[in-house]
Amino acid sequence: MTDDQLDAAYTALSCALTDAGAERGELVLARLALLLMHELDDPARIMRAIETARVSASPNRQEESPCSR
C-alpha cells in the first residue's frame, strides 16, 4: 500500500463513519474489524492488533467489565 492508497482508505473510512453518524459509527467499525479479521486470517496478528488498539477506559464508563474473570 502506498502513502496515497493509505490516505484514500483513511478518507473512505472517515466518510463511512461520518455518514453513519456518531451513534452508528461504532457498528461500522465493528463490522469493518470483523471483515478485516477474515481477510487477514492470522490469529496472532489479529490478537496483537487488538491489544495495540486498546485505549484506557473512559472516565464516564458505567459498566463493570465481564472480561476480567
Binding site: L35, E63, P66
Partner: protein, 566 residues
Amino acid sequence: MLATYFDYRRHPVRLPRLDGGADAVRHRAAIVGGGPIGLSLALGLARYGVPSVVLEADDTVCTGSRAACISRRSLEIFAALGCEAPMLAKGLAWTGGRSYYRDTEVFRLSMPHDENQRFPPMINLQQCFAEQFLVDEAARYADLVDIRWQSKVTGVTPGADGARLAVETPGGTYSLDAGWVVACDGARSAVRQALGLKLEGTQYEGRYVIVDILLRSDYPTERRAWFDPPSNPGSTLLMHKQPDDIWRIDYQLRDDEDPDEAVKPENVLPRVASHLAMIGERQDWEPVWISMYKANALTLPSYRHGRVLFAGDAAHLVPIFGVRGMNSGIDDTHNLAWKLALVDRGLAPEALLDTYSDERVHATRENLRYATKSTEFMAPPSHGFALMREAVLSLAAEHAWVRPLVNPRQTSAIAFPDSALNAFAARSAAFEAGPRPGEVLPECPLERVDGMYGHVTDLLGPCFTALVFCPEGAVPADLQTALARLARGAVPFAAVAVASRRAPGATLPTAVDAGGRAARLFGAEGGAVYLVRPDGHVCARWRDGAAGEIEVALRRAVCASVPEMR
C-alpha cells in the same frame, strides 16, 4: 387458569419403621432429591445391585417443561438404565435449527448426525415426562429403589462412615443413617447449605422469561432463535416444539424491566401474541406455564465431601443456552453410579470417588466454557459484547464465514484426556483413528451378540468391557487367558469380540461388524483391544500388547493398589 397437559400422579407419604425417631434400617446410599438426577442415580446404582433410598420433598414430578431438551449422550445413558424407549416414543427428535436477525435468516444449525447413530442428537420432552418415565422404571426395581415422596431433608450430619439426615414429612420427622449421601437436590440444595458449601463463579444479570403455550402448529421440530425481531424489538427470543402441541418460548427481558411484573400474564401474553403473529401462526393458543430464568455459571470446587457427594444442579449451575443443565447432571450420575457401587461393595478404594469429583468438575469447567460463550452471544453482558453481536448478525446473511459465531454450541459428551483412570498413552498413540483414552465410544451399527440389529453402545453392560476387534475372528491364546482371568475377578468385567463373522467355536460372545465399519471407526482394521469403563469412556486401547497390560489398566481404572500389579 393455565391449561394442563400432564396427568400428575400424587404419591402419599410413607414413613419407614422407626426405632426411637430414627429409620430402623441403616441405608447403604441415600439420594437427596427425586428429580431426573436423583432418579437416574438410583437406577444406576440398582444396575450394580446397590439399594438406595430417594428422598423427594414434593409429592409428584416437576411442574412445567423445565429442562426440555435431552441430548444424545443422555439418551445413551437412559438406554443403559433401560428407559430410553418411552422417552424416544414421546419426545420429538430434531437435528437442527435456524437463527434470524430481525426478519432475515442468518444461520442454519445442524447438529452432528449420520447413519451410524443410534439416537438423534436431541429430543424435546418436557421434564415431567422424563421424570415420570424414570419413576416408572424405578418401580421395576422395588427392592432396590425406595422413593419416599413428601420427604424433605432439612439437616445433614456428616460422620466418618456415613451421614445422618433429618427428614421432615407431613406425617412427622425422623432421622436416617446412610453410608453414602448423594445430594441431587437442585440449585437450592439443602445438603449444600447444611454443609456450609458455596458455589463459585459468575451470576449473569440478564433475565429470560420462559413460557409454554398450547398451540396447534405443523411447523417442524427445530430450534429457532430470533435476534431483535420486529415482533419484540431489541429482544432475543427462542422457540422449541414439544410433545402434545406445547411450544416453549424463551425471551430476554430488557435490563430496566421489573422481573416480578414481567412474569405476569398481562405482560407476557402480548409479547407472545405479537411474535406468533409475526411468524404467521394464526391458530388460537393459550399459556400453560410461565417462569423466569437467570443465567448462572457456578460450581462447587469439589463434588466429594467425605461420605457426601454432589451431582447435577446441587453441584453446578450451567447457563441454559446449549442445554447443559440436566444433561450434564445425568452424565454426573453415569460417572458416579459405577464408582459408588464398586466402593460400596468393597471392590475399589474410596479414592475412586475422588476421580468422580475430578472428572466431573473438569466436565463442568468445559461445559461452562461453552455455555458462557453461548450466553455472551444470547444475552450480551456488556456494551462491547452487544456491539460485536450486532456486527456479526448484520454481516451473517451475506458472509458465511461469520456464521459459526452465531452457532448456539449445543451440548456434547465431555472427554477426560487427563483422567487418572486412563492408562498406556503410548499404546493409544499408535492408533490412527478411534476414541482415545478418556473419550466416549463413537456410535456405529452392528449385529449384537444376540444376533439382533444394534449398536456399539449396546455392547456395554454394568461392567468394564473389553471390545476385542479381531478381523479374522480368532483371539490370540495369551489374550484369551488374560480376559478369562479378568472375567473371574471381583470387578465386573466382560469381553466381547467384534468380528466380520461369527467363527465356529469362538470363545468370546461375538458382535458382527460385517462391513468392517466399526473396525474402521475404531482404527482397528488390523485387530485391537479397547478397555471401556462402565460409563462408556475408554480407559486404554492396544493394537499390540493387550494380553500383558489389560489387567494393569483395569486395576488402574478402579484405583486399585499398584504393588499388586505385575
